[in-house]
Symmetry: C2
Subunit: 352 residues, 2 copies
């Protein structure tokens, strides 16, 4: 069979031989280096030869000499999160879309592997990537990131505390303000016994931001935060279910819930249902993220729209600029996070 072999043991030397030119010429043509004065005819011949042989340059060789890999990594705290929530998948979609459009491949890396910190820094040190996007940094990893940023390595941080990462480029939403908005919404509807379930253990920046926002809103209404009405889950619906059961078991009256993410909200709602409570009649619920299913659940969920896909796109676009050597003046971008009102909070209730 005479079909071009795409098996890629093809080297530029072979292309050169077939085209009857030197490797240099091949290189010039294929990377179309301008001003090098390659005759149109030679050009054609080289291109033809390359196509016939199914030539694709060896990435390792190229990156060895150029120092670039055209690859970036997206680092997330834990693989596990992919399974139970869809914030990360949507963000990955955005990162992937934008990176591919700009010629970059995306490595998906968990920060924690099998219980212990993965060495994502090795990716940098071994020069496997040109840049890094890091999501939801646990406090324990702040130092590593600061170090990388100080060295000038292209780095964008998502979903983190601006203070902790002052010198680092970040794409984020104002989580605290969003949490305030969500909680205020419940308070404005007349609720005074508002519970909160964090979406993760408290070592994540995003978790404490929500907690602060929740507390802020309560204070605005002259209410002091009651630890008895606060619980922490772990990303999944199941953990939300358990957290809600725990809250109910404390037998503190609760008429509303601000959940740290939508998935947890759904778990909590199921727990309320199991306990014979109706949503929104007995307990109003606000979620966080606006996952695609939020609009289609029963009841449809009132929630904060964080638009992770768009955040991912923005982070990737910024990263590519950093890789290109640009140094944008603004280091922090904060997008708005609207409250999407649906049926899960019902109508205003008369003050108790």
């Amino acid at each position: 069979m005479n079909r071009p072999k795409t098996s890629a043991r093809v080297t530029s030397t072979q292309v050169a031989k077939l085209a009857g030119v030197s490797r240099t010429t091949v290189s010039f043509v294929l990377n179309d280096v301008p001003q090098m004065g390659i005759s149109e005819e030679t050009r054609e011949r080289v291109l033809l030869a390359a196509r016939q042989l199914g030539y694709v340059p060896n990435a390792a060789a190229r990156s060895l000499v150029s120092g670039a890999t055209r690859t970036v990594a997206l680092v997330v705290p834990h693989n596990e999160h992919l399974k139970v929530d869809n914030f990360i998948p949507r963000m990955l979609a955005g990162v992937n879309e934008t990176c591919h459009a700009r010629g970059y491949k995306v490595l998906f890396e968990p920060m924690i592997e099998a219980g212990r910190p993965g060495r994502f820094v090795d990716l940098v040190d071994s020069r496997r990537i040109d840049g890094l996007i890091v999501l939801n940094v646990p406090r324990s990893e702040d130092a590593h990131l600061a170090h990388l940023a100080a060295e000038g390595f292209p780095l964008v941080v998502l979903g983190s505390n601006l203070d902790a990462h002052a010198g680092i480029y970040s794409i984020d939403v104002d989580t605290r303000e969003a949490a305030r908005t969500a909680t205020r919404h419940l308070l404005a509807l007349g609720h005074r016994q508002v519970a909160h379930i964090g979406f993760a253990p408290n070592e994540y920046h995003g978790v404490s931001e929500r907690l602060y926002g929740y507390r802020d809103a309560l204070r605005e209404f002259g209410i002091e935060m009651d630890p008895e009405r606060v619980a922490f889950a772990n990303f999944s619906a199941q953990s939300g279910h358990e957290a809600m059961r725990a809250l109910l078991a404390r037998e503190v009256p609760i008429t509303a819930l601000f959940a740290g993410n939508d998935t947890i909200a759904f778990g909590a709602i199921a727990a309320l249902r199991d306990a014979g409570l109706r949503v929104p009649e007995d307990v109003a619920v606000v979620g966080y993220d606006d996952i695609p299913l939020a609009a289609y659940a029963a009841p449809p969920l009132t929630t904060i729209r964080t638009a992770p896909y768009e955040q991912g796109c923005e982070a990737a676009a910024l990263l590519v600029r950093l890789i290109a050597g640009e140094q944008p003046a603004e280091r922090h971008s904060t997008s708005p996070v609207p409250l999407i009102v649906r049926a899960s909070c019902g109508t205003p209730r008369v003050a108790a």
Copy 2:
């Protein structure tokens, strides 16, 4: 400050110099080549020097000479799918977990970028990856895969038609049988007007497999498939919602639905609700995949458990074996797909 610089312009030559040995020795020590008789003392010195300098071998250089990249790619049909369904994220979690545990990085690649076929084959040709896992191959890409497999490139296919990929290693479930099971469940409950919504356009193997299984089950009960009761969606809840509306608009009586995936099932259920129909009282619904939220929805969804995480793990484990040069005799692994019965189908109904 005297902290080891991890910035990794450190080369093995520098380590050699600091340790007072040659680069060869450094290489032997770091890759601990056995039988090479390196004195314990030299060993220590090299290791110390490497640590002091924060030496990490350059991946490109290493892969250039070794021919291996310790990277694999997971190819999925479209980025978009990440956003709306969580089958792929869970599978990615499995692939990622297993690959990282075995020292491989994972590149996440869409097969279709911005509407046109991405050249995932270039990853192979440019030798950026040592192996490939491909999910849900559209028929149009069958030939490329056959070609790669014929060349002996390590390749595992997921969620595809076994006939179409006879010579290719695959991890899969018996989709057709699962669809039969799901549909039979509805028929056994007394339903005779069973609709089906495919999870994607019909160019995917998985979609037609479900359709065949659906048809098989109907036939077992002496019913001929009615195209008027079949619609196709596009992964998302929204598309499920639209498909259900379309079905309802046809005004063909329907008492049960087998949805191509859970996300679509939820969209469809919302459409039924919007139309004033109750689930399960008026329409029974079976989903497909058992996404984590299925158990927490109202009503909890009866569905087929496809366990994508486990499939991902299995695929990755197999791929790593293939990369290592093994040639397992069995090319196809098929895992069981149990029907998980919850509340969305209600109780047996009297025959109409």
